[in-house]
Symmetry: C2
Subunit: 250 residues, 2 copies
DNA sequence: AGAATAGTGTCTTTCAGACACTATCAT
DNA sequence: ATGATAGTGTCTGAAAGACACTATTCT
């Protein structure tokens, strides 16, 4: 049986196709802690639960294109912000019953938002809320991830996520953690200029561990990706730290 | 505009959906070199070109399930072999014009086959051929990958790949390379028992570099994943190397 | 001056690369 | 014995962890 015979036997127009969507994990920092932008579902299925922003993929757009459209239409990014935001494909989720309405396969994307953008989007877009992420460290090899509402975290109650979006979120954190050390993702969450302490805090928040200060500074400075701005932190009641800017390696 | 309004506006049953397929990158070693199993397309589109084995995703199966089905039906794996083979999702390709017939989005999977399985499948399944992979190292950051027929490599002419399958193959090699150092993928290509030299050869073939022998041995043995079998290599005209078995870390 | 954090000097340990050396097997 | 590869001992240098120390700014 060769491929063409197979294609005839399974003529796609004659059979039902799964629906295809994209879902976006929009990560940022809220109070120095990792957080994600979520939409509260108003109607069922999963009414009252929180979902990642997403959309169906149209026949005439790429997957990346669909993800970029969600960024504009559902997260309210303007063209410039959307252009600047780097969307990275994360994984494709295809469990048969992941949506109770019908068979839907979703391609998950991950984007890291600078603190200012993250806060602004959450403020301007009433449909979106920032939810702090809490990671359970059961097995050290990447346990389950729970999301908490960043505003209503007095009781530390978990925000219920819709569909399999908790799995998607967990994978996003793991991906981020894996790339933290050898890529420039650590800078994507920070504003234009930042201190080394802020950078270290971001790394520690994502990794869930504490890092050695001199070693961290050495590694970061030796890479040559940091340019001192000459300016210093303002508004502290102690010695202000020097501000650095991230410059992509040549 | 909230999600439900959006869902109403884009009722998926009212609009055309992309078709969804899975494609498998079945990697193995041929003569110590990385190779992939390909199917020569008999009819157009892309007649005469070589394609990764794949299939449409059925409504009642997961993506992983569809990939496993291709392994059995198109690659001719029996149930036991298919069970043993670990399929890993690689990436989802969604360019609008990647297939000339219609809009098809494909989820690519990667599997590593032990030498014996690789050779056996190629021999028994007339539709499949092993093609050696050649990697161009233009930019050091992962340049284009070309596939050569392993049998007809006298002239070193590139095998033309169908659709965007060259891109898929290139990404598979990059993924493999990235995981080689911190995972156990290096063992998946080797037979049950193997020498440290064979293991090093596999690593060098995938990385495209030569490695330091004492350092390599130290790293591998210190990980505690290797168990000496007590037996030794046979059939050499020199000192036979000790054979090791891979044991998963506890 | 005191408090609080920024930033550095240095010792130790760990580990990869390099190189030379010894060990062992077939012929 | 010879040839060829397996396998190891050891030196060196690079880099991380630990710790203590100095520096700087605000109140």
């Amino acid at each position: 049986m060769d491929e063409d015979a197979f294609l005839k036997a399974y003529d796609p127009t004659a059979f039902e196709r799964p629906a295809l969507t994209v879902d976006l994990v929009l990560l940022g920092l809220s109070d120095g802690h990792p957080a994600v932008l979520l939409i509260e579902r108003a109607e069922h299925p999963h009414a009252g639960r929180w979902a990642l922003p997403g959309s169906f993929v149209r026949p005439d757009e790429t997957l990346d294109g669909a993800a970029a459209r969600v960024l504009r239409d559902k997260a309210g990014f303007d063209a410039i912000e959307a252009e600047r935001t780097r969307l990275e494909q994360l994984y494709t989720f295809g469990a048969v019953d992941r949506d109770p309405r019908m068979r839907i396969v979703t391609v998950a994307y991950l984007a890291l938002l600078p603190e200012a953008v993250f806060a602004q989007v959450e403020e301007e877009n009433a449909a979106l809320s920032a939810a702090r992420i809490a990671v359970s460290w059961a097995g050290e090899a990447g346990g389950p991830v729970a999301a908490f509402a960043v505003r209503d975290r007095a009781g530390h109650e978990a925000l219920p996520l819709a569909f399999d979006h908790a799995d998607i979120l967990a994978l996003a954190i793991l991906r981020l953690r894996g790339k933290l050390d050898y890529s420039d993702v650590g800078f994507a969450l920070l504003p234009e200029s930042f201190t080394l302490r802020q950078l270290q805090d971001v790394h520690e928040a994502i990794l869930g561990t504490s890092l050695n200060k001199p070693a961290f500074r050495r590694r970061m400075l030796d890479r040559g990706w940091l340019v001192p701005t000459g300016a210093r932190e303002a508004g502290t009641s102690f010695r202000p730290a020097e501000l650095y800017r991230f410059r992509k390696p040549l």
